[in-house]
């Protein structure tokens, strides 16, 4: 089996230019976690089924476990780390913290990015909108009601 082609892939990562030299077929998740030490996106299934690895690509949620590095060339990638800037934080972070929206918290960074994609596009979501936006993401601890409340709270704060 031939080794995957190694080359420099350029994309925008959390607002900054990134140039990564890596096998172009390497899943974005491993690039983020292991080459860039960005640990918010997490491995859950490796098959686009759970959403623990969700990040935004050009503003839309994508499962980074199944997305090859070459597929984000020239695109805009956002991870949950982008919600923190020094002492400042995105209203979604504040709302999740205030609602204690999470138990183990493993699923949260994927879910919060789905929520961000929703709020970026629809600043006045209904409960049904929020449910639809998060529904591909799984949570096993049963923090769903708090997570739904947190997203609604963040939408209020962003008004």
């Amino acid at each position: 089996m031939a080794a995957a082609k190694q080359r420099v892939i350029r994309f925008t990562l959390n607002g900054r230019e990134a140039a990564i030299e890596a096998p172009e077929t390497e899943p974005l998740l491993w690039v983020l976690r292991n080459r860039l030490n960005l640990k918010a996106a997490r491995f859950g299934c490796g098959g686009s089924s759970c959403g623990a690895c969700a990040v935004l690509v050009d503003g839309r949620p994508e499962m980074s476990c199944s997305l090859k590095l070459w597929a984000v060339e020239g695109k805009r990638v956002e991870t949950a780390e982008s919600l923190f800037e020094g002492d400042a934080e995105h209203p979604l972070v504040t709302a999740f913290a205030e609602e204690r929206a999470g138990q183990c918290g493993y699923c949260l960074s994927g879910l919060v990015m789905r929520a961000k994609a929703l709020l970026d596009e629809n600043p006045k979501p209904t409960r049904e909108d929020i449910i639809a936006a998060l529904d591909e993401g799984l949570c096993r601890c049963g923090a769903h009601p708090r997570i739904l409340r947190a997203v609604a709270r963040a939408a209020e704060a962003l008004k």
């Binding site: 491993w30 918010a40 859950g44 299934c45 999740f96 205030e98 204690r100 918290g105 960074s109 009601p145």
Partner: protein
């Protein structure tokens, strides 16, 4: 200082670790290091434990650093299980911190030659003014090897801002998880290797062939480690390990026992030995007015969102393991025996993983990575399971059936109740003398699993957990048959047998109320003396606007229990709606866990326990094919999603003067009971088998 003297809590842990210095360390100025054997497994215990120490010492919570589950310095408090962490671990730390407070105050009074002194965020106050003393200065002059039990302790005043401080600590825990880096999966050690295990198609599979040469020729692969049927790839990078294991899987030839689908009842058929777990009065004299109900559940997976993970370093004959196991000392004992090492040569360091709901694969993956580290001495190895491993390699939650029979007296009292339980075993954890790890039997030189057991009645029992109802029953008998020799590894999952037993009891209570033509909640209350029990039932009834009316499509049901008959009380009402599939649009819960240390934590545990129980009840099942669990991915093991969860309302009815009780396992049984009651009201079924999928329910309605 007020002189409101109080007695200290007593726990089993304090007998083994009686000194202040066993629990608390003040060597770093500004910081109090609190040691606990109770570990964070996604239940938020770290926050509750930090609050307990902060309050006892009148400290800001940020000063309290928790060192939990580290065999280098934490006390051995056995497993973090059974919802005992606040009750035991928390009360132990509280006693230690209160004793430390008393010691500091005594020393400060001596030094300042003052009658009244007080503490505020570590500073010693005299007449409300700061002095030159603080607890760290005092600690440096004191030997804190002082028996906790000898301290004369006064009750600390209520801390200002404690609710705000708790909210901040809770919020910061969420922030840490959003930001990344909070989990064992995120640990990066210098020179670390990455490993993946080959998919094991059957617990007793034999590995006939794997193309080691081809796999080891792949980029970055250090080795394909093979020992009997245990096989793993080790690579420089995680992405390389993933590619290599996929290739290894595709070349592997396994010898697996054949066989078709095996129903849980077939697998449990080996359970023949009848054990009587409780017996009171004479059932035979209770009469003949009987109702019977039955509740069955299949095998379940823990199905955490994160997969099991561990790291290990084998160096100069010593082994260091980073693990999310529930019992770090128990893991160490099991590892020592399985690896033929001295316990003193092993350190186990706990780091949190994704949610743990019982005996999952944390110990198993730790043993596996230790085997791999032994093959690569001097380099740390990190092993993370893949999704298929997470769903199939660890222990399953036991399938079980609980049958409840109620005999009614002429006066409409419960004259007798009996439960007959058939179950797979609930305990197979590693520990001293028990080197029980999934991969042990696979090795060329096998390490056999210790026989399956059941938790003793003193710990709440296993299959028989909550089989004795809190209701007044007249005569009572609980008998169980446990399939100890079942060829599947099953072990504890949240609530253990309480889930099915409470459901069976509540279903029978519904049938009995129907038989009498009585309101089902009134019937329950008539058989409940305990005022705390009555309060949660009444509260759930009132919150939900409970009614037995049904339009044939929606109905409400109530379920109640006191977990283990000695822990938290919980009553639940669900509203069930039957369309194309069964859904639960609304759920109300009332809970009494005594003193509430972390209100949002308790509410979250009840909500989460309720949702997980609904998920088990409506969707989950691990099919067994030819003796192996057949759930390779989430498509084969769906769980409840955002679009399927009810709107939930939880009320806490406890008295803060009652001792604090855990909340993580109080809702599961009552939710199953409430669901069973509502489904019975809709469809008249006295025998239910979950999951209540459309196909599952249709099959039961056809009989």
């Amino acid at each position: 200082m007020n002189d409101d003297w109080m007695s200290l809590p007593k726990t089993k842990s304090l007998e083994a670790y009686p000194l202040i210095s066993d629990w608390l360390d003040f060597s770093e100025p500004g910081v109090v290091k609190a040691r606990s054997g109770r570990v964070e497994i996604g239940q938020g215990i770290a926050i509750a434990l930090r609050r307990i120490v902060a309050e006892a010492l009148s400290l800001e919570m940020v000063r309290v650093h928790l060192v939990a589950g580290d065999t280098r310095e934490s006390p051995n408090e056995n497993y973090t299980a059974g919802s005992m962490s606040v009750e035991l671990g928390g009360q132990s730390l509280r006693a230690a911190a209160l004793a430390a407070r008393a010691t500091f105050l005594l020393a400060a009074r001596d030094k300042l030659d003052a009658e009244t002194v007080d503490l505020q965020d570590g500073q010693v106050l005299q007449h409300g003014e700061e002095t030159e003393l603080d607890i760290w200065k005092l600690a440096s002059d004191l030997a804190l090897d002082i028996p906790i039990a000898e301290a004369v302790v006064s009750r600390p005043g209520r801390m200002a801002r404690i609710d705000e401080t708790m909210a901040e600590a809770g919020g910061d825990a969420i922030r840490a998880r959003l930001r990344g880096g909070a989990f064992i999966h995120d640990i990066v050690l210098e020179n670390m290797l990455h490993a993946r295990v080959l998919h094991l198609p059957h617990p007793a599979a034999q590995l006939v062939f794997v193309d080691s040469e081809a796999v080891e020729a792949l980029p970055g692969v250090v080795m394909l480690h093979r020992d009997g049927a245990f096989a793993a790839v080790i690579a420089e990078e995680e992405a390389q390990a993933m590619s290599a294991v996929a290739r290894a899987d595709s070349t592997a030839d396994w010898d697996v026992p054949g066989g078709g689908i095996q129903k849980p009842e077939d697998l449990l058929a080996s359970a023949t030995e009848l054990e009587t777990m409780a017996e009171a009065g004479d059932l035979a004299r209770a009469g003949n007015r009987k109702v019977v109900a039955e509740f069955s559940r299949p095998f379940l997976a823990h199905a955490s969102i994160g997969t099991c993970c561990a790291l290990a370093l084998w160096q100069d004959g010593t082994l260091t393991v980073w693990s999310h196991a529930q019992g770090p000392y128990q893991l160490r004992a099991g590892l020592a025996q399985a690896l033929n090492l001295d316990e003193a040569a092993i350190d186990v360091i706990h780091k949190p993983a994704a949610g743990c709901y019982g005996h999952n694969g944390a110990d198993d993956v730790a043993f596996e990575v230790a085997l791999l580290a032994r093959a690569c001495p001097g380099r740390p190895v990190r092993l993370a399971w893949r999704r298929v491993d997470e769903l199939t390699r660890g222990s399953l939650a036991p399938a079980m059936t609980s049958r409840a029979e109620i005999t009614l007296s002429d006066g409409g009292e419960i004259a007798a109740m009996s439960l007959d339980i058939v179950s797979a075993p609930h305990q197979r954890r590693p520990g001293p003398g028990k080197p029980s790890f999934a991969s042990g039997p696979l090795l060329a030189d096998p390490v056999a699993l210790a026989p399956a057991t059941e938790p003793p009645p003193a710990n709440g029992g296993g299959a028989d957990r909550n089989a004795v109802p809190l209701y007044k029953t007249g005569a009572l008998k609980v008998a169980r048959r446990v399939a100890y020799d079942i060829p599947l590894r099953t072990s504890a999952m949240r609530a253990l047998g309480a889930y099915a037993n409470i459901a069976a009891i509540e279903l029978a209570m519904e049938a009995a109320a129907d038989e009498l033509g009585e309101d089902p909640i009134g019937f329950r209350l008539r058989h409940l003396d305990d005022p705390r029990a009555r309060r949660v039932v009444e509260k759930a009834r009132d919150m939900s606007g409970f009614t037995t009316d049904t339009d044939g499509e929606t109905a409400k049901g109530l379920g109640f229990a006191r977990y283990k008959n000695k822990a938290g009380y919980c009553a639940v009402v669900v509203e069930v709606s039957a369309g194309e599939s069964l859904i639960v649009p609304r759920l109300w819960a009332a809970a009494d866990v005594g003193e509430v240390i972390d209100r949002e934590g308790v509410l979250g545990q009840v909500e989460g326990g309720a949702i997980q129980s609904l998920s088990w009840s409506l969707k989950e099942e691990v099919p067994i094919i030819g003796g192996a669990p057949d759930v390779p991915d989430w498509e084969h093991y769906p769980i409840l999603r955002f679009s399927e969860i009810p709107v939930i309302e939880v009320a806490l009815t406890g008295d803060p003067r009652d001792p604090p009780l855990g909340a993580g396992e109080i809702a599961q049984g009552p939710v199953a009971g409430a669901l069973a009651a509502a489904v019975r009201r809709l469809f008249g079924l006295d025998s239910l088998r979950v999951p209540l999928t459309p196909e599952g329910l249709a099959g039961q309605m056809l009989g």
